[in-house]
């Protein structure tokens, strides 16, 4: 990771960006963001190394946020703004450790198709219901189960977590993976066959 050396940036104590950076909960969420991204690339490294890299990214994010604090719109929440800066810091860090180029961008049309197919307003039609069933039939069982719990039984993430005996955040990630798998089907299915 390339850490830019900068002079300390002075900010008044009541500056919203500075106050946010002093918030331990927000700092922890920034470290989590860095760990989630860097952890995939540093999987073989000791946990302490990964934690150090994540803290470095967090510090760099803090420095850049203070430098850019005049760009921050105080009418908007500060957390996503800081995570956006962290995103750029991590992009630079990953570029320096990545061996292969980034994969192609997601097919936005496939995501739109999936949204249309899963939309409950349209699920009243027999065709739409059949379409959701066709997704389920083509997916591996671990994805089918979580999609059925969410879209057929209408369970919340907490309820899915309890049903599967996993944590709430793990239920969230499993549902995301199932939707990504469904999106792949939406992207390859010929549109003329769709309702």
């Amino acid at each position: 990771m390339t850490v830019t050396v900068t002079q300390p940036v002075a900010a008044p104590p009541d500056d919203p960006v500075r106050m946010a950076l002093d918030d331990p909960e927000l700092r922890a969420s920034l470290v989590n963001h860095a760990l989630a991204v860097l952890g995939r690339h540093l999987a073989g490294r000791p946990a302490a190394d990964r934690a150090d890299k994540a803290k470095e990214a967090c510090q760099e994010t803090g420095v850049r946020a203070l430098q850019k604090r005049h760009d921050y719109d105080p009418t908007r929440p500060v957390s996503p703004w800081l995570h956006g800066i962290m995103n750029f810091v991590l992009a630079e860090a990953i570029r320096s450790v990545r061996r292969s180029p980034a994969q192609e961008s997601a097919d936005p049309a496939a995501w739109e198709q999936l949204e249309a197919d899963l939309d409950s307003d349209k699920a009243e039609s027999v065709h739409a219901r059949l379409d959701v069933a066709s997704y389920l039939a083509k997916l591996p069982s671990e994805h089918t189960e979580v999609l059925q719990l969410r879209f057929n039984e209408g369970l919340t993430h907490n309820e899915i977590a309890v049903r599967l005996g996993i944590s709430n955040v793990n239920a969230r990630v499993r549902l995301c993976r199932a939707l990504v798998a469904a999106k792949l089907i939406a992207g390859v299915e010929p549109r003329e066959d769709r309702p």
Binding site: L35, S79, A91, A106, K183
Partner: protein, 184 residues
């Protein structure tokens, strides 16, 4: 927008974010964080994705360390027993495996033959583990065996049931507490 549509939108935005993260597509991630500027719920969900990924990475690291440790113990301490923590009901195979590893003295040869067969039987044990009931249940399914075999089988079954119950209690105590407010 109705509640279901809102839930679907959030679910799909979260899925797109995970997809982008796993493809190192920082431009798409940046766009989603931009959307989160006007959507506090999305902000919270994206942070949950990070927490979920960290949990997965920790479990993978733990599994890797555990496999390395198991291999080292099996290579260098062949007489040691590695007790694997399992969830779910105790099966006939679990009990037969326990008897294979800790075989009681003076079991007749036909008991060993039956035990070898039962090591592949994944049927769960009955709820009642009284000796007469268990013997009747087992002989109906697996055939007749010497009484001392079923006594040893019952002792091993009770030991494994107690161990499994203790593990289940541990997992229950160590589970993550649910969030006070449910999110879509």
């Amino acid at each position: 927008m109705n509640t279901n549509n809102r839930r679907l939108q959030i679910d799909l935005a979260a899925a797109r974010y995970l997809d982008a993260l796993e493809r190192d597509d920082f431009t798409a991630m940046s766009d989603i964080w931009q959307s989160a500027l006007s959507d506090p719920e999305l902000d919270m969900v994206l942070r949950e994705i990070h927490a979920g990924l960290i949990e997965e990475q920790s479990q993978e690291a733990l599994a890797t360390s555990s496999a390395a440790l198991t291999a080292a113990v099996e290579n260098h301490l062949p007489s040691a027993e590695i007790v694997q923590s399992k969830l779910g009901p105790v099966t006939v195979a679990d009990v037969a495996e326990e008897l294979f590893r800790h075989t009681p003295d003076r079991l007749p040869a036909e008991a060993h033959v039956l035990n070898e067969r039962l090591r592949a039987t994944q049927e769960p044990l009955p709820d009642e583990l009284g000796l007469s009931g268990l013997t009747a249940w087992a002989e109906t399914r697996f055939g007749v065996a010497p009484a001392e075999y079923w006594r040893a089988f019952r002792q091993a079954a009770v030991k494994l049931e107690l161990r499994r119950a203790a593990e289940a209690e541990y997992h229950l105590a160590a589970r993550r507490a649910p969030q006070p407010e449910e999110k879509p």
